[in-house]
Amino acid sequence: MVLVLAETQKGQFKKAAYELTYYGHQTAQALGTECAALVLGTAEGAEELGKYGASEVYHINDTALDTFDSQAYTKVIAAAAEKAGANVVIVGHTSTGKSLLGRLAVRMNAGSVPAVNAVPTLEGGTFKVRKPVFSGKAFADYEVKSDNKVLSLMGNSLQPQEVGQAASVETLDVEVPAAQVTVKEVKRMEGRTPLPEAELVVSAGRGMKGPENWGIIEELAETMGATTACSRPVADADWRPHHEHVGQTGVAIRPNLYFAIGISGAIQHLAGVNSSKTIVVINKDPEAPFFKAADYGVVGDLFDVVPRLNEAMKKFKAEN
């Protein structure tokens, strides 16, 4: 049995939970077994996970799990895996999942592979799975030798598809240990999709000249429903908040569409964004290295091109 941890935010499931369930379903198929989903704490609509391939949904409905403590979560998940007879546990490569994967590996005596982005294969009894390494500059295939296995799935690795029907939700009775960590406050930007999950990203660099010019970037992002990002010097200069910094030493992302505006395309920047499916570069320097990594390029002054692009996007949105 494969068990996926379907995360919620304020009791609601997001796309990442459906993507992970669908990935769990595909993994289960590759291994010749079934996929169950585990839901922790307050949650609404857990039965929907069945549509994305969970044959069973287990719910541990204890409000103590509404705040995150990796130690308590690990004990609960490992106990649930045992009850469900699961030997493969998959979490998202999210702030929650990253805090859990290594712990689960130790607790379950399981071989772990973090940040995978493809469905595992089982050939001649050998379990292999692929992950990006060197900040997206290469891939590595990992072999997991132990019976128990734990994986974390990189966001935006596959498009969730409906493959079944709503599942019945079974309440699972597992002891929830007292948390050693007290959560004082949770602050999230409302409205925008966070960068690691965003499918559309509009990113800008030092070519913007100063923070006062970001209006055109915000407007384009608004029109497209995209999330904004930036290069490192822009965040270092406090033109933009640190959480927008993408690259090798910032957030690594793989959206469907990445707009790089006034960014030169240094190797450390490319490392965090080159897994994006489509890359558009807008730069006035035709020699900018980013053009070599781009699918589409516009050589021009961003202060002219971006407003024009925004108008074209608006027109497209109105027509479609």
Partner: protein
């Protein structure tokens, strides 16, 4: 407070990524190595700041061969008091975590710091493993951290925001951008580092349960398609019809 900072050695960010032995080994020829930036810039510096404010000691630990001593000496030059190298090839995250946990347990450290991930394997696993092996709390992606006695208040980055938590030592914390400002070692630091203790410890037994067996480079990008800057309708059309990205 006894603070332990885990540092790893990674290829320099502009290093050419290539593989040898039938794509089963990373090709290290001509590659320059550095201390993993998250370990150096944030984890180590915040540990030093806390020591400077509250007293105590900062120890660096690395799991690796003698060639790693240059990276370790840099950490001493930045200001750590002493260093330990566990003399073994860091063959997997679990192997490394078991070495660190064994040492941390023996020496009873109050806080174990490490970077949020290494820039080569991008695993983000070792911290959580060490915490589970020690059965202590783990706070990942810390971008702010203060200590008052043995209680820490830590801000950790989460998707689209952050979370403020309180935790009592002992615990493990992984460092993200914002936790501290990079420090450049000065001449005095470099001179002093030569005289600071660097202990070499034998490895404890640990198995690798998952290992990389094959590497591949991504396919080369085709040529960029240039679009007339006057004609953004065309770009939008291509993104919709050809790339199917919008």
């Amino acid at each position: 407070m006894k603070l332990l900072v885990c540092v790893s050695k990674t290829p320099e960010t502009t290093a050419k990524i290539a593989f040898t032995e039938g794509n089963t080994q990373f090709d290290t020829s001509g590659v320059q190595f550095i201390m993993n930036p998250y370990d150096e810039w944030y984890a180590l510096v915040r540990a030093l700041e806390l020591k400077e404010a509250n007293g105590g000691s900062v120890t660096i630990i690395n799991v690796g061969p003698a060639a790693n001593d240059t990276v370790i000496r840099k950490g001493l030059a930045i200001g750590a008091d002493e260093a330990v190298r566990v003399d073994a090839e860091p063959s997997s995250a679990l192997f490394v975590a078991k070495q660190i946990a064994a040492y941390a347990k023996k020496e009873a450290f109050d806080v174990v710091f490490l970077g949020k991930e290494t820039i080569d394997y991008n695993g983000s696993e070792v911290g959580a493993m060490v915490a589970e092996l020690l059965d202590v709390p783990f706070i990942s992606y810390a971008s702010h951290m203060d200590m008052d006695g043995d209680t820490a208040t830590v801000t950790r980055d989460i998707e689209g925001g952050n979370e403020v938590v309180e935790v009592k030592a002992p615990f493990v914390v992984s460092a993200a951008k914002g936790l501290a400002e990079q420090r450049i070692p000065n001449m005095r630091g470099i001179m002093m580092a030569k005289r600071k203790p660097l202990k070499v410890e034998p490895a404890v037994d640990a198995e690798d349960l998952s290992v990389a067996v094959h590497y591949e480079l991504p396919p080369e990008k085709g040529d960029v398609k240039l679009v007339d800057p006057e004609n953004m309708d065309e770009l939008v059309r291509l993104l919709h019809e050809e790339a199917k990205a919008i």
